[in-house]
Amino acid sequence: MWRSFILIVLLLFSPVLNASELSFSQNARTFESQTQSLFIKGLAFACLNSTQIPDDLPCNPALLTYLQKESLSLQALISNGSSNLEKIKKLLNQSSTQDTIDALFSKERILQIESHASLLFRSKYFAAQYLPVDIKGFSVVRNEANPDVEFYAVEDKGFRLQAAYPLTENLTIGLQSRLTDRKFIRQRFKLTDLATPAGKNLLTPKTYNFQTLEPSFSALVYQPWKVRISMMYANAGRYSERYDQIDPADELQGGISITPELLPWGELLLSLDYKSLTAEDSSLDKLHYGVSYSFGSMSISGGIDTHGISSGVFFSIQSISAGILYTTTKGLGDDSQNYTQTVYAQVGWQI
């Protein structure tokens, strides 16, 4: 069974090697509609079966029952490109000037930023997250003669609530609800369009809110190596406005994981998820492969999908935690010069 799993993984790798060129205009682990912690980004979002996520609520609410103790904590994450944070905020608040526009689109070819802070409460049957600030921005300018700009900026605020209930020793069910206010800009345009009267509205943000209700379950199907299967019906709910270019459609997400007993100490988890991270994901883009190893105060995560590769380390001791994550859109064996590299840093404090 172990050999079959490796074969499946190797078969999945070959499309990733070729897909890196398509992912040039995107960051590997920052997406408009996703707000996840550093550890989950490290896993390439293959987290539907992760029972121990040290810095966030479980991706699958049914796994809350595996939490060992209650906690209230504050987590803050920021990526490189933090100097652009104020410019993105000004644009979203419609208080930008010509200098801001020039700084965003003329001086830098690629611009990116993700920054969010959240309050997390976790317990065995209930969890809640308050997100007072979550800002993401990405811009790429091509063609020096007549610049084309691809740009998005998103600001989210809201809550995420989770509840779980164990039906049997190996089967749990859960429910997640997200209550979010969103403000965003997502455009592709020629830089010269900004000077025209019609172009002035290109950078006007749109606002809307949504409330989702997402049921899930998780089942431990094979005790040796803890083979686990989980499913979740995601993104279903009420939207005040639906923007298909930013909101992934309602979908059934699934994942499988194993915890092989290969190492005498620590816990190794291998997981494979099938889920959308953007509204434009193809079937191949929905496959995410993640690996994590937890040992003492250290957790290492790594992940690969068509968006890119990520690898990070997270430390947590008593009430302090910190982590760092490296991501790239460059595939394995890819010699292309067009790729985006991002470094994320996160600190946390247990209150």
């Binding site: 209230l72 309050l119 209930f126 609530l161 620590g266 003492g296 105060s297 250290m298 302090i320």
Partner: protein
């Protein structure tokens, strides 16, 4: 559904629902583990030997991972030029030292039960006397835990009340909601400790 209330002095309606759901979800009495007063010394000794083995494994894990954090943080800080990365690597080193200390403590010292066990083990008491002392120790531990729960209930209740009051006086929406969130969670903890 309005996400943020228009009124400045009352909590948003969705937040009231969240606090209500929190209270309902945790109205189930907590299943606090209470020590078994009739536990024999032999059973306790077996548990403690197992605990010592777990402490040994866990302690070594924390020492090794802490050492990796210390070394990795030092290397990363020297290699990196970004001030944010340097700051995180410095934090890694600090956490590495804390992790080594915590690991050593867990391995060599452990918890209160283990300290009691090692103390009694060194004595020349008869097994019956050991069981009697164990019974008194458990009784005493239970009484202390009751007092501890009462004090935690009062503390979390006061923190909750303070945060709710501060939130009602706050004009900034984000800070107001954060304070209501912290107040709600502490109210939940207060209710939990009251059982």
């Amino acid at each position: 559904m309005l996400i943020f209330s228009q009124q400045k002095r009352t909590p948003p309606s969705y937040l009231q629902w969240i606090i209500f759901i929190l209270c309902c979800a945790f109205s189930i009495p907590s299943l606090a583990l209470t020590p078994n007063e009739t536990e024999s010394w032999d059973t306790f000794a077996r548990l403690m030997e197992k605990q010592k083995s777990t402490d040994h494994t866990q302690g070594i894990s924390y020492i090794i991972s802490g050492s990796l954090a210390l070394i990795g943080g030092g290397v990363g800080e020297n290699i990196s030029s970004d001030p944010l990365e340097k700051g995180v690597y410095t934090l890694f080193q600090t956490m590495g030292i804390a992790s080594i200390g915590y690991g050593a403590y867990t391995w060599q010292i452990g918890n209160e039960d283990r300290g009691f066990y090692e103390m009694i083990l060194k004595s020349n008491l008869a097994p019956q006397s050991k069981s009697e002392i164990l019974r008194v120790y458990r009784q005493s531990t239970q009484e202390r835990q009751k007092k501890e729960r009462f004090i935690k209930m009062i503390t979390h209740g006061l923190i909750s009340a303070l945060n709710f009051y501060s939130a009602s006086q706050q004009s900034n929406d984000s800070i107001k909601t954060s304070l209501y969130f912290i107040g709600g969670v502490n109210l939940l903890a207060c209710i939990t400790f009251s059982f």
